[in-house]
């Protein structure tokens, strides 16, 4: 890797994804404006920011669901726009808010679709293993997606993303549509899988608390630019500038108010 990254030059050699002056414009609107950054293998990176800050657009330029207007995105050292699209995507797991299970496939068929496209047949044992990985009953393999709850469906979505042993897991607001309890449980599960399977994970979220608790590095985005690149502890210590601190202050104040409420022992 000959290119340098402003964000983290020291770890450049292990970078699995590198953004080089990446821009994405829609007519006159700049969605992503000049991002330089490298994602090291094995890291759990969170892209945090308000709606419209460009975090999802940046993420989707990795698996070419969006292509850059200028600049380059490298995956394992190769320009993603120069790679065979289908092959690139089979190497990257993708989980997103819309889940997108194929309603006419059984759960097992949904999980096995990536390998099937690559010409492999996933064994029932492997499908059962993947279901167990996301804490679902292996017998669910024969169900249709509309028989599942929202949380169960997203678990299948995660299992589908992991089925092809991906080198990288991309998550775009993966828990956005789930209730808080399911959301919390699934967040922990993903972090655990990240450790256990030695994954590299990039997750987009607008929830700073979630990002602080799961990720080991946070990129804060605003108006298409990276305004902070910090580890969770540094953000909590007040680093990263006003915009990042504005986002951190929301869960912090909520926690403080809850604590005060608890201390007074009187909700009124």
């Amino acid at each position: 890797m000959s290119q340098t990254s402003q964000a983290d030059p020291a770890d450049n050699r292990q970078a699995i994804v590198t953004f080089e002056r990446v821009e994405r414009r829609y007519d006159d609107v700049v969605a992503v404006g000049g991002v330089d950054c490298a994602v090291q293998a094995g890291s759990f990176l969170a892209l945090v920011g308000a709606s419209g800050s460009g975090k999802s657009t940046l993420l989707k330029m990795v698996n070419t669901l969006v292509t850059p207007s200028s600049g380059r995105v490298l995956f394992a050292g190769e320009d993603v726009t120069a790679m065979r699209q289908a092959q690139l995507r089979r190497r990257i797991g993708y989980v997103f808010q819309g889940i997108g299970l194929f309603p006419h496939f059984r759960v097992g068929e949904n999980i096995a679709i990536g390998p099937r496209l690559a010409g492999e047949t996933l064994s029932r044992a492997r499908i059962a293993e993947l279901l167990e990985l996301v804490e679902l009953d292996p017998a669910m393999a024969d169900r249709m997606p509309d028989e599942l709850s929202g949380g169960q469906r997203q678990r299948v979505g995660v299992a589908r993303a992991l089925a092809g042993d991906p080198e990288l897991l991309l998550m775009d607001e993966p828990f956005g549509a789930l209730d808080p309890i399911t959301r919390d449980a699934l967040g922990d599960k993903v972090r655990e899988l990240h450790e256990r399977l030695g994954l590299t994970t990039v997750m987009v979220t607008h929830d700073m608390a979630e990002a602080l608790l799961i990720a080991d590095r946070l990129l804060v985005m605003d108006s298409g630019r990276v305004v902070a690149d910090e580890v969770p502890r540094a953000l909590l210590a007040g680093e990263g500038g006003d915009i990042a601190q504005g986002l951190v202050s929301v869960p912090r104040q909520q926690a403080e108010r809850l604590a005060r409420l608890e201390a007074r022992g009187n909700p009124a």
């Binding site: 699209q85 289908a86 819309g98 997108g100 194929f102």
Partner: protein, 514 residues
């Protein structure tokens, strides 16, 4: 009721032809609509243009769309050669396919537009190519909606296919049109019941396939598809055993006289050993062109009709000169042989109810002039467009209060009911005598003559056997005989007979039966 049942049972060949035509039209519509829908789902512009075109086609009345393909195909002969059929199956197929396009296309495009964007994003993100996405995701998810479109298209097509009778394609429209013209309501009902029944069966089977797709139940759509395939297959098999090349095709326009004369000619040809088939209820404008292109072999036409419609003449040189000119013109321009005149005229003649005429003191067109502004005149759909009408109006200075169009059958009823005071009747029509109508004299001879002629297409123009079989008919039919035959078919009491029976009686009457 049993009469209708019997007629329906006898409609086997029409039914088979109807099924084959409708199924082919829907299949062709599908072959065109599905790729267009895929293309339209990827381009807004294509979507707008294709849906706009399909909607535009839909606004053209089916009858007009069918008729329009005749001149289109005729002009395409310069590209595809003289063997390109201009009547019958091909134009009917093309027009009905165009008609089937809209519901299939619209449902397919709507289905694609309404696919869950999350599912499409997932398809992309798991690494599907465009083709895999179409085959594995878009097509199966859109299938129930597309089936719903095919169902709508099928019901429309089966209904509209009855109109293909007018361009010479046999089907369940044949009994409907024949029945309407001869006031044989059992025949009309039988045709309607058969075509409605066919539409209901097709809708039910396609509905089964649609639900099978929606529920992803292989048995349901497999069974539905099998039943449809069996139906179309047996119709095809039935048809394959039908007509051959050597059959002589006799055309008739949409009125009783034509049906009777077609049977009279057909009977004589069968006696002479020919195989005969009939193309009944053709549009008047279509017949001459069909004859010139040998899509039909024999027709009966009238001098006045050919004079204005084909030669484009508006003058009136007199009866003999008109006939000679036409005979010559047909031979030189179209290789059509005018075998001769049957002996009677079927001219336009102005008719009034006897009591009404007496009341107004009208015996001739000259007398009509002062009272016309208070009167309503009725005519067949062609009548007011014809130069004859123009000529009469000019010659006698006629200005009527209102002009009403009727089908020939209802025109006479309109006179009886008082909806019209004067009608443009036909001189050979049996109802003139039966209804005791007064025919107004034409002292200025403004109305041209309409001698009935036997016309032979180039395909049989030199066929000795045909000429020998038909020559005895030349000059053999008096107008009184024709009127009687026409009336026996048009009358509405228990003495009403079919055109075939009327033809046999006419044959006896003119002394040609052995």
């Amino acid at each position: 009721m049993s009469e209708i049942g019997e007629i329906i049972l006898g409609l086997g060949d029409k039914f088979a032809a109807h099924v084959v035509l409708a199924a082919s039209a829907i299949a062709l519509g599908l072959v065109v609509a599905l790729p267009l829908a895929v293309w339209a789902s990827r381009s807004q512009t294509v979507s707008r243009i294709t849906l706009g075109f399909a909607s535009l086609v839909q606004t053209i009345p089916a009858l007009a769309l069918l008729a329009l393909f005749f001149p289109i195909l005729l002009s395409l002969r310069s590209v595809f050669g003289e063997d390109l059929p201009t009547l019958g199956f091909l134009p009917a197929l093309l027009a009905l396919s165009l008609y089937a396009l809209l519901p299939i296309l619209r449902n397919a495009v709507t289905a694609q537009a309404n696919l869950d964007p999350g599912v499409l994003e997932a398809a992309d993100s798991v690494g599907m190519t465009a083709a895999q996405k179409l085959r594995l995701v878009e097509a199966p998810l859109a299938a129930p909606f597309i089936m719903a479109g095919i169902r709508t298209a099928s019901v429309w097509t089966i209904g509209a296919a009855t109109l293909s009778t007018t361009i010479g394609q046999p089907g369940l429209g044949d009994p409907i049109f024949a029945g309407l013209q001869t006031q044989n309501w059992a025949l009309v009902l039988a045709g309607c019941i058969a075509s409605a029944g066919l539409a209901i069966i097709a809708d039910a089977l396609l509905g089964l396939i649609e639900r099978g797709f929606a529920k992803r139940n292989r048995w349901m759509y497999g069974l539905g598809a099998l039943a449809v395939a069996l139906g179309v297959g047996s119709a095809l098999a039935y048809q394959a055993g039908g007509e051959d090349e050597e059959t002589i095709v006799i055309a008739s326009k949409q009125f009783s006289e034509q049906y009777i004369l077609a049977r009279l000619i057909g009977d004589r040809l069968e006696e002479a050993g020919y195989d005969v088939s009939y193309r009944d209820g053709l549009g008047s404008a279509v017949v001459h062109n069909a004859l010139a292109s040998s899509n039909i072999d024999i027709s009966i036409d009238y001098t006045g009709t050919i004079w204005t419609n084909q030669l484009g003449r508006t003058d009136n040189p007199g009866r003999e000169a008109m006939y000679d000119t036409i005979r010559e013109w047909e031979r030189e321009e179209n290789d059509i042989r005018v075998l001769g005149r049957l002996g009677f005229e079927n001219a336009y003649a102005f008719a009034m109810r006897e009591d009404r005429a007496r009341e107004l003191g009208v015996t001739s067109l000259t007398d009509l002039e002062p009272v016309a502004p208070q009167l309503t005149v009725g005519g067949d759909p062609e009548f007011f467009e014809r130069p004859d009408w123009e000529a009469v109006r000019e010659a006698y200075g006629l200005r009527f209060d209102e002009e009403l169009n009727f089908s020939p059958t209802f025109m006479y009823n309109s006179l009886r009911s008082g909806a019209a005071d004067v009608i443009g009747a036909y001189s050979s029509d049996g109802r003139i005598a039966a209804d005791r109508l007064r025919i107004l004299e034409d002292p200025l001879e403004a109305l041209p003559s309409y001698d009935a002629m036997i016309m032979l297409a180039p395909s049989v123009a030199d066929e000795e056997g045909v000429i020998r079989a038909l020559e005895p008919l030349i000059g053999a039919i008096e107008v009184e005989d024709m009127r009687e035959a026409n009336f026996s078919v048009d009358r509405e009491d228990e003495k009403k007979v079919s055109p075939a029976v009327a033809a046999e009686r006419l044959n006896e009457e003119i002394g040609l039966s052995n």
